[in-house]
């Protein structure tokens, strides 16, 4: 397989599979609540419909309102392509790509935030303020998690860092990264994707004024981000790089589905937190990652 074909194949897999995850989560939530729920493929239908729809733009907006979602979508796709798949490695892999990964996620946040502020709405302002503030703690947790993996593997490249398991601190790391996953993807208990009150939203309120293809880009990007975090969590904990390619892919799919199911269960069983408690929970995630780092540091080979 040529390099270009390899990249295209991975790209297709990431882009096509990503909208499945929110469907699975919603199905789990419906199942716990005793409802039938929307079809698993609902997001695909939504995206197809939005892509064909016209756009209503606020009279206040600049071109950034349309360009921001495109930039964010590209940044998230780039971050996805930096993640390895078992022994096959990543589409792009180089020394230091772990940090490019973190900053691509930040770039996506930056573009979406500016596109949201562009409307001049106080609701959007609130959402952006919450998003960028909580991301400070989430970023600290991700850096601590990456340092843990770096201590484990002695490398700063995701392909090598994610190959072995996280060792003795795996449970701590998994708990910490799961907290970050919930926060960064606006799930309960940090945010409620189903809420109907603008005042209490984080992510949803940032996209209130988007419509049509830009909204499709945002929704698809959000599902991509969820998949990215689920894959990162699975690969950080499991030694997928040590398995043969097919079992590794099987294990990856199974664990990503497991993450989705657990997310759905968390959403069904927990209430969302008051905003003043959100930083505490995120700090807990950061501390869990930091403890995982200390475990790795103590147990690591010099």
């Amino acid at each position: 397989m040529t390099a270009a074909g390899d990249i295209l194949l991975r790209l297709a897999a990431w882009l096509l599979l990503a909208p499945l995850l929110p469907g699975v989560i919603n199905k789990v939530k419906a199942w716990v609540a005793g409802r039938r729920g929307p079809p698993v493929l609902q997001l695909y239908y939504d995206l197809a419909k939005l892509w064909r729809k016209g756009v209503v733009l606020s009279t206040a907006v600049s071109p950034a309102h349309v360009l921001g979602p495109a930039v964010a979508w590209v940044a998230l796709t780039g971050a996805a392509l930096l993640l390895p798949v078992g022994q096959a490695g990543a589409a792009f892999s180089f020394r230091g790509d772990a940090l490019v990964f973190v900053y691509l996620l930040a770039f996506a946040r930056f573009s979406i935030a500016l596109a949201a502020l562009d409307t001049g709405s106080a609701f959007e302002g609130m959402g952006v303020a919450r998003e960028v503030s909580y991301a400070v703690l989430a970023e600290a947790a991700i850096i601590a998690a990456l340092l843990t993996l770096c201590v484990q593997s002695g490398s700063v490249s995701l392909a090598t860092m994610l190959a072995p398991s996280a060792g003795a601190g795996a449970a701590l790391l998994a708990a910490g990264l799961f907290g970050v996953l919930l926060a960064e993807n606006c799930r309960v208990p940090f945010d409620d994707p189903n809420t109907h009150l603008e005042l209490t939203m984080v992510h949803e309120v940032m996209v209130l004024d988007h419509s049509g293809p830009p909204l499709a880009a945002i929704l698809h990007g959000a599902s991509l981000k969820l998949l990215i975090f689920a894959v990162l969590l699975a690969e950080a904990v499991l030694p997928l790089g040590k398995l043969a390619l097919l079992p590794a892919i099987g294990a990856l799919v199974a664990s990503v589905l497991a993450v989705a199911v657990v997310t759905g269960l968390v959403e069904s069983l927990l209430a969302r937190l008051a905003f003043r408690r959100v930083p505490l929970l995120l700090t807990t995630s950061f501390l869990l990652c930091l403890f995982a780092l200390l475990v790795a540091w103590k147990g690591g080979v010099p």
């Binding site: 756009v55 206040a60 020394r95 940090l99 562009d118 106080a122 609701f123 503030s133 850096i143 340092l147």
Partner: protein, 649 residues
């Protein structure tokens, strides 16, 4: 031509500019731009050739023979000076024109050239006495530039604070150079790494240069000076004058031995400056003051890199130190470029609207599309986002820190703290620049702006375009600038001359290029799709509220509220609120203000204590002759007592 000839042209151009400053603005512009171009050529010539230029003419200034030297480190800083000097010169010809400022523009041009000339001279001179003289002159030139608008009390106060703290720094530098000269027996500067006895002098240099660089908590002069200076001067102060402090630190940590703790202290100061600098920036409502605090943050990032490089040298030249140093050096350039771009953009906003208060602005992208786009580019760069230059240097520092962690030494624990702090700093800076771009350029105008809000002219736009292009170039092709970095790193420590790992930069550059290309493609694609599907227009969704006004938009203060709440322990924000109370609330208002904690809670109380003590001592001098005679008698008695006691022994 050798660098010497270029430097001669540069000096001659700047001096000719001073002569033309009062009568012929065009001659001044041409001469100063020529001078900046020649200085750029000299530095490039040196960095491309790799030969240190050394010149000892027979001139004697102040009893010391002139000795000029252009090595990798000074050429590296000289390039930045030349670029910012050229950009600021062209910008000021449109921004601070004779027509708008007939009294202050001509002397301003002369002081500007004096500033450039003396900063350049500091970079190339290799004699302690001449270094001090040029340092003092450029400090004073900067004072007169900061107080261009001296009819405003705020500008006078800012200038005074700058002058006072610069001279406190000067005292430490006097002590540093004098002790250095006393211990080596000569004012000549050069590598003296074997003289272990010189190590304690580092602390004097740290305070002296640190005050100039604006390290937290020595940054007290920085916010008000940057806010009140004309914007091209703020750009030069932040882009270059702070870097002179960094140059001093790098120069003398490279040339002199350092104490055991030096690297740790520098790295710790870097972490504190980075995190608290950006926290204070979030609390600001004044656009230029906010940018000034971001200088503290970026100086912190540079110091983290430098500190870990020093720790690495103490640990037997570990490879991670080279990466950290390369990151610090590149960040010197990067911060100079994007911060100058942002200050020039802020200057255009100020020029067009007449206010630096962010709460009065909004929606400027309509009137000023160029300024808004270039400011957004600078904001992306300073937030350290790929694919621009700020990310490249932060990435190099990160790589150094991660390698230090995986090397598992005693430096590893410190590197963990530094890496997490750097991550937090990056996320805070992102929040801050989302706030600035959103509040100033997006949305709707918060107040009725004057009719004359306009895009800036080409003389102001061209320098911003050039600086923006430099940011993009370093981001997309970092490898092109690697030889200059390697040369500067080798001048800092010759042991670093070999085996600097440049390979990842090629891949990073390629990835950045691909990312930029795909971003443009995707944006164009989505844009076409939106046009294809058809666009309708409607008001922003406001929950069905009947009478929306632009004043309902989120303000800068409420945007930063969550984060400033986390840092309230040091920011100590002061809130004055009259909340609506009765059944029929009539009047309500809310004001918030972030004080200068270090200045108002530490320096001013200490200063007033000194003043009170002095006032008490002054009571001894009251003009009554009888008491003075009594003092004389007391003194004589004391002397006699000492003489008698001494004689008894």
């Amino acid at each position: 031509m050798t660098p010497g000839w270029w430097l001669l042209i540069a000096g001659a151009g700047l001096v000719a500019g001073i002569l033309g400053a009062f009568n012929s603005p065009r001659l001044w512009l041409a001469a100063t731009l020529t001078g900046a171009g020649a200085a750029f050529a000299a530095a490039v010539e040196m960095l491309a050739g790799g030969m240190t230029w050394d010149w000892r003419p027979a001139f004697v200034i102040g009893g010391e023979a002139l000795h000029l030297q252009l090595d990798g480190l000074s050429a590296f800083f000289l390039i930045l000076l030349a670029v910012l000097g050229g950009a600021g010169t062209l910008y000021s010809s449109g921004y601070w024109s004779d027509k708008a400022h007939p009294d202050s523009a001509p002397p301003g041009r002369a002081w500007w050239n004096g500033l450039l000339l003396n900063m350049g001279f500091v970079l190339v001179c290799a004699n302690g006495l001449h270094f001090l003289i040029a340092w003092e002159i450029f400090t004073v030139c900067a004072y007169f530039l900061i107080t261009r608008e001296r009819q405003r009390p705020a500008a006078r106060a800012a200038g005074w604070l700058y002058l006072a703290s610069s001279h406190v720094a000067m005292m430490f530098l006097f002590a540093f150079f004098a002790l250095l000269a006393a211990r080596t027996g000569s004012w000549e500067l050069g590598p003296l790494r074997d003289h272990a006895g010189l190590a304690p002098l580092f602390w004097l240099a740290l305070i002296g240069f640190g005050l100039k660089a604006g390290i937290f908590p020595l940054h007290i002069w920085l916010p008000s000076a940057h806010a009140n200076a004309p914007s091209h001067v703020s750009a030069m102060l932040s882009g270059m004058a702070l870097k002179m402090g960094i140059y001093g630190l790098m120069r003398f940590t490279g040339w002199l031995p350092t104490p055991h703790l030096a690297g740790w202290v520098v790295a710790a100061l870097g972490v504190v400056s980075a995190v608290l600098g950006v926290a204070f920036a979030l609390g600001q409502h004044d656009l230029k003051r906010l940018l000034a605090y971001h200088s503290v943050e970026n100086i912190g990032i540079i110091l983290i890199g430098l500190g870990f490089a020093m720790i690495a040298v103490a640990h037997g030249h570990a490879a991670w130190g080279q990466l950290a140093l390369a990151g610090a050096l590149l960040h010197v350039w990067n911060h100079g470029l994007f911060k100058a771009l942002l200050f020039l953009g802020a200057g255009s906003v100020l020029h067009a609207t007449g206010t630096r208060e962010m709460s009065r602005l909004g929606g400027l992208w309509r009137a000023m599309p160029w300024t808004a786009s270039l400011f957004a580019l600078g904001a992306t760069a300073i937030a350290g986002l790929p694919p621009l230059n700020g990310f490249v240097s932060e990435w190099l520092v990160y790589l150094g820190l991660f390698d230090a962690v995986s090397a598992h030494g005693s430096a590893g624990i410190a590197a963990i703290l530094a890496a997490v702090s750097l991550g937090v700093t990056g996320a805070l800076a992102l929040a801050c620049f989302v706030k600035v771009c959103g509040v100033v350029f997006l949305g709707l105008p918060r107040r009725e702006l004057a009719e004359h809000v306009h895009e800036c002219g080409w003389r102001m736009r061209l320098p911003m375009l050039a600086l923006g292009a430099a940011c993009v170039a370093i981001g997309l092709a970092p490898i092109l600038f690697w030889p200059a970095l390697a040369m500067a790193a080798a001048a800092w420590d010759p042991a670093l001359a070999v085996a600097l790992p440049s390979a990842p930069l090629v891949t990073l550059g390629a990835f950045h290029l691909a990312l930029a290309a795909v971003v443009i493609l995707a944006a164009a694609f989505l844009w076409r799709r939106v046009r294809h599907n058809g666009v309708g227009r409607a008001g922003t969704w406001d929950c069905g509220y009947a009478a929306p006004t632009p004043r309902m938009q989120y303000t800068a203060g409420s945007f930063a509220g969550i984060i400033t709440g986390w840092f309230a322990w040091i920011l100590r924000p002061q809130r004055h609120a009259h909340l609506p109370g009765d059944i029929f609330p009539a009047h309500a208002d809310f004001a918030e203000h972030t004080p200068e904690t270090v200045l108002e809670d530490v320096v001013e109380p200490a200063g007033s204590l000194v003043l009170r003590f002095s006032a008490a001592v002054r009571r001894l001098q009251h003009g009554r002759v009888q008491s003075y005679i009594f003092y004389l008698l007391l003194g004589l008695a004391a002397l006699a007592l000492i003489a008698v006691m001494g004689g008894a022994k």
